[in-house]
Each structure stands twice: as structure tokens, then as C-alpha cells.
Symmetry: C2
Subunit: 344 residues, 2 copies
């Protein structure tokens, strides 16, 4: 695949450090021909690391940034170093038009705050939301948002997330009218918080939007494939996403124990290994890495803090796809069309 | 196992109707020798159903109740029929001392409202919470609460849930100082809602309680076995529980697909079947059915609305164990000891 996009990389963010970030970028470089990178962070450390990736060196420019935002730092603190930190400078590359997207494995709250301050939200959007594609049993992945950017949300926020999520699904899943549901603790009308009930009322009334509101969905049906977009506040979204990740790992661990419990099951495992390897591959969060902040005037992707080399490469691949499909501009267009229709 | 407990059964609640409830009770009767039942609901229908379970008839008394609480009914509506509904009459059997516990597969909100009105909360407890034991990779199950009884909770509610959950863990898991954590979207101090941060502060200060507060836990670590009690509001708890159930089913479905993807993997599956059957059995929610309302002066258990015969029997088995261990009285005792210590 040839791809002329430029991606800005926060080379210093993430739990696993510079080495894994660079290995991930080098992997993405091998997978996506023509992609170019702005590697932002401690210049000397990056140049030293690059000596192990000659192929990446040729496709990269190093941009020095002296500061690193720590994982436990408060967003308000981090904001003071927007101009000097690897995270802030990477986002600024998007603002200046030097890169089509920025990717960071760093502190989510800080990334959100900096991206919002630097790129600003699209007209009509109060807050950006963190969205990702999750695997389902159906033909398509499902878009889920917010995954942790906004701890508490009101009905207006949730409704805007629905509109942005639907626009995203129309582009990445190529659907005319995505089926949009609100995450709740029951499917009956009277279930849930006041915010969710109000959002449901607003979405039910919004029949002019290019999407179908399908009501409430419970946690046990997220991956059934009967919805295209699942909308929730950042607290519940984060709990659901992480619980799903943890449960998948839990089941995989139990499966490993079960397969090693007897000679017979070990033999069965060896024989069916190609099938179980495929499954493991399908469930590995590194193969679904890269959540995007929707609603900003520019593309910023959050890679999982504990992502390995494969995960970092997946996030960069997703960023390249979004740049190529001109995602931010198309979502903005979609939102303004909706506003125009609503006014008419 | 000989067990002289009497369990009141809401025979009409649940998505699957009277037939599955009776089959479940009959199964519990076979598994637990000496258990006796008060079967509450439409007398004619129950007697007709009992003709298929002669063994159960001998151990049961039928109590007529004309009304059934529907699944989508509001708790406030349901409360008006506390005296005439199968759910309300089953709870009243506990209040009157005729049964040691009541089990219902019906509407959770209605069950909670009726149980609270009839049995009242223990001294010092504002609201009951729905608690269940979930499987982990560790030596013990983990107690999780609230699983959906209280949609929104303040710091005081969360702190009381922690104390009740710890008392429950001390009894059912036989631990001296259970490790108690709050479910949150990060492990750092500044993460989460104001309610969670305040609850953490209160629990950190409560060093006189017979438990160890271990801070925040994220959704991906629920089943790692490094906590004994996980405390959350009913909204997040319900989302986490159902997401875990749904993900376990999702992985099992993918595994089935993987195993049937080729002749080779089918053979491997047949060979390792005893191991995968054990795993399926371990993950089947019917084998973990029966959540209890903690904090009431009496035992009321919620069986999953979609529980099958095995699930209903599991919930009844759990109820019998709780009656036998005198759970409600021992939690009350634990709470009053804590109060006495705090006052001293």
C-alpha cells in the first residue's frame, strides 16, 4: 500500500518507553509504504534509538522536545507544558499542517486537554470524545464512544457523541444509516440515569439525522453485532472497554489452563493450534489499538499505554487510514449538513 | 448434604416462566436433601406444574398470590402490589419468619423496592446493595457490589457498600481482613468522579475496620484475584458485570467458530473436549447465579431473569448456604461491632 501521509509521533509517551515506540513506528513503516514520520521527543535519545532502525531513519524527521508528560500528571499541570513536551509538540505539528495526525501512547487526560486547547472543537461540539472500533460477531466492527475522555456527561454531550459516532461509522464502516444505541443497565424506557433518559428522548426526536436510534443496549450485547455505534459517558465506556479486555484475557488464561490440564487436552490443543492462534490474534488488544478523539479540528489518536510494538504499529496504521479518508473534514461536513437540515 | 432450611420462591418471576422456575426448584431439591420450599404464585398453575415433579411436591407448600410483577414495571407501581404479587408474598414469608430466604428471577428494581420496604435496612445502612461472587484466576472468588440496585450513589453509600461487602467476604470467603477496592477508570488518586474520590478518602481513614482498603481497581483487573471485594455504584457495576458476561460468551462463540473452521481443528476440539467442557461449565453464568441484597434484615436473592433450570437451582443452593451460615445476622453483628469500635 502506498501512502503519502505524515504522522507525528509522541515518541516519549507510554508505559514501555521510547524503544517500543520506535520499534512500532519502524513496523508501521514496513507495513505502509511511503508513510513519513515526525518523531517528537528527546533528540539525542531518538537519534540513538534510530541507529537500530535504518529503514525508519530515512522516512523520519526528528523534532526535539525537552519535556515528557508523566502518566499520573493532572491535565491542568500538563497543559502548562504544551509548548515544550513531546505530546504538545506532536499535536502542534497537526495544528501547523505539518502532519495529518498525531499518535501518542501517553496520559489520556493530558492528551485530551492539550488536543482540545490546540485544535479546538468543531462547530456545534462542546467536548471531543474518544472513539474506537471493537470486534463483534457480526459483519462489521462497532464504534464505541466515549472511552474515557469525559468522566461525567450530560444529555447534550451524549447526543453530540451519537452524531459524531454515526458520522465516523458512515465513513469507516461505509454505512448509510448507522444503528446507534445508548449503553444502559436495562432496555426499558425508565431504566438508567436522568442524563441517559434525556439523551434518548433527544435522539428519538432527531429523525432528520442520517442514523437510526435503536434505544438502549446492555453490557452483554456490545459485541453481538446488532448495533453500529454505542454511545456512553467516559466513565462507563472506560469500565466497559477495560472489563471486556480483562475478561477476554481471563478466558484465554482459563483456556490455557484447561488445555494443559491433561495429556489428552495438550494433544488436542497442539492439533487445533492454528485455529486457537487465529482466535488469540483476533482478541489481542494490540490488533485493535488506536482510539481517535472525535470532534476536534484535526486528528489525534490515543494508543494504549501498554501497547507493544504491534499495537503501536496498528494505531499508526489507523491514523494513516483516517488521514487518507480525510476523516476530520468529513465529520465536520457531516455535522454542518445536519445543522443545515435541522435549520431547514 | 442435609439442609433443613425453608426457601420462599417467587414462582412467577423471570423471563422463562413458571415451568423453568419449577424445574430449577426440583433440581435444587434433588441436590440439597432436606430443603423445603414455599412456592408462591398462581396456585392452579403451580399445582398443574408440580404434577411433573412428584419429588418436589412432597417438599413444598403452595401459597397463592394472584398478581405477577412484570419485567418492565416501575418499582413505584410494583410496590402497590406488595401484598398480592408472588414477589411481595415471597418476601413477606421471610419477614414472617416462615422462610429463611426468598429467591426471585423477577424485576430487580421492584424486588429491591419491595424487599427494602418490607424487611427494612440494617441500622447504619441507607441502602441495600446487590452483591455476587464472581470467578477469578486466584484462589478465591471476588465479591462485587452494587450490581444494579442503586443507579446513582454518593460517597457515603459507596463506603457502606465496602463495609457490607467486607463483612460478606469475611463470612463466605472466610477471610480475616478482606482486600477492598473501588472500581475506577484509573489507579491514580485524581482519577474518577467526586463521589469515588471522597469514598476513597473515607475508606483510607477507616483503619479501625476489619479490612484493607487497596485503592482503585480498573475494569481489566476484576478477575485477576488481587482483590476480595470490589465496590462500585449500581450503574457501573451492572455495566461491568454484563460486559464480562457478554465478553465471555463472545470469546466462547469465537472459539466455537475457530474449532469448526477446518477438519484439523475439529479433530483437535474433539480430543480436548473434556477440557473445553470444564471451561464452558466454569464460565456459564448459570453456575454463578444468585446475587444477594446486602444490608436488609433478611435474605432476598435475585436470580438472573434469563437463568435456566441449572441457574435457578444454583441461586437456591446459594440461598440455602446463606441461611445456614446465618448471613444476615452475622453481617448485622459485624456492622454493630464496627460501630462500637468507632465509638470507642
Amino acid at each position: 500500500m502506498s501512502d503519502s501521509s505524515v504522522i507525528a509521533i509522541d515518541a516519549m509517551g507510554g508505559d514501555k518507553g521510547l524503544e517500543v515506540m520506535l520499534a512500532g513506528v519502524a513496523r508501521a513503516r514496513r507495513l505502509h509504504d511511503g508513510l513519513r514520520f515526525l518523531l517528537v521527543g528527546d533528540e539525542a535519545a531518538i537519534r540513538a534509538g534510530l541507529s537500530r532502525h535504518p529503514n525508519l531513519s530515512q522516512a523520519s524527521e526528528v523534532i526535539h522536545a525537552a519535556d515528557v508528560i508523566a502518566g499520573e500528571e493532572k491535565p491542568s499541570q500538563a497543559l502548562r507544558r504544551s509548548k515544550t513536551s513531546s505530546m504538545g509538540v506532536a499535536i502542534d505539528c497537526v495544528k501547523q499542517g505539518r502532519a495529518g495526525a498525531a499518535v501518542s501512547s501517553g496520559n489520556t487526560g493530558a492528551l485530551m486537554a492539550m488536543a482540545k486547547l490546540s485544535l479546538r472543537t468543531m462547530p456545534g461540539i462542546d467536548r471531543p470524545a474518544l472513539a474506537a472500533l471493537l470486534p463483534t460477531l457480526g459483519d462489521n466492527d462497532v464504534v464505541m464512544l466515549d472511552l474515557g475522555a469525559n468522566t461525567e456527561c450530560d444529555a447534550r454531550n451524549l447526543t453530540q457523541f451519537a452524531v459524531m459516532g454515526a458520522a465516523y461509522a458512515r465513513i469507516v464502516l461505509e454505512l448509510d444509516r448507522p444503528r446507534v444505541a445508548l449503553l444502559n443497565i436495562g432496555s426499558e424506557d425508565q431504566k438508567g440515569t436522568g442524563e441517559i433518559k434525556d439523551a434518548a428522548q433527544m435522539l428519538r426526536a432527531a429523525t432528520h439525522l442520517p442514523m437510526d436510534f435503536t434505544g438502549f443496549v446492555e453490557g452483554d450485547r456490545l459485541s453481538r453485532g446488532d448495533h453500529d455505534v454505542i454511545v456512553t459517558d467516559g466513565f462507563s465506556g472506560n469500565i466497559a472497554l477495560k472489563t471486556a479486555e480483562g475478561t477476554a484475557r481471563f478466558v484465554a488464561d482459563l483456556l490455557r489452563r484447561a488445555f494443559s490440564s491433561s495429556a489428552r487436552s495438550k494433544i488436542g490443543f497442539l492439533i487445533s493450534r492454528p485455529a486457537t492462534d487465529l482466535l488469540r490474534n483476533h482478541l489481542d488488544p494490540n490488533n485493535h489499538n488506536g482510539a481517535v478523539f472525535l470532534g476536534l479540528n484535526g486528528l489525534v489518536l490515543k494508543s494504549h499505554g501498554s501497547a507493544n510494538e504491534i499495537g503501536v504499529a496498528t494505531a499508526i496504521g489507523n491514523a494513516a487510514k483516517m488521514v487518507k479518508s480525510d476523516l476530520a473534514r468529513r465529520i465536520a461536513e457531516d455535522l454542518s449538513n445536519i445543522d443545515a437540515k435541522a435549520a431547514a
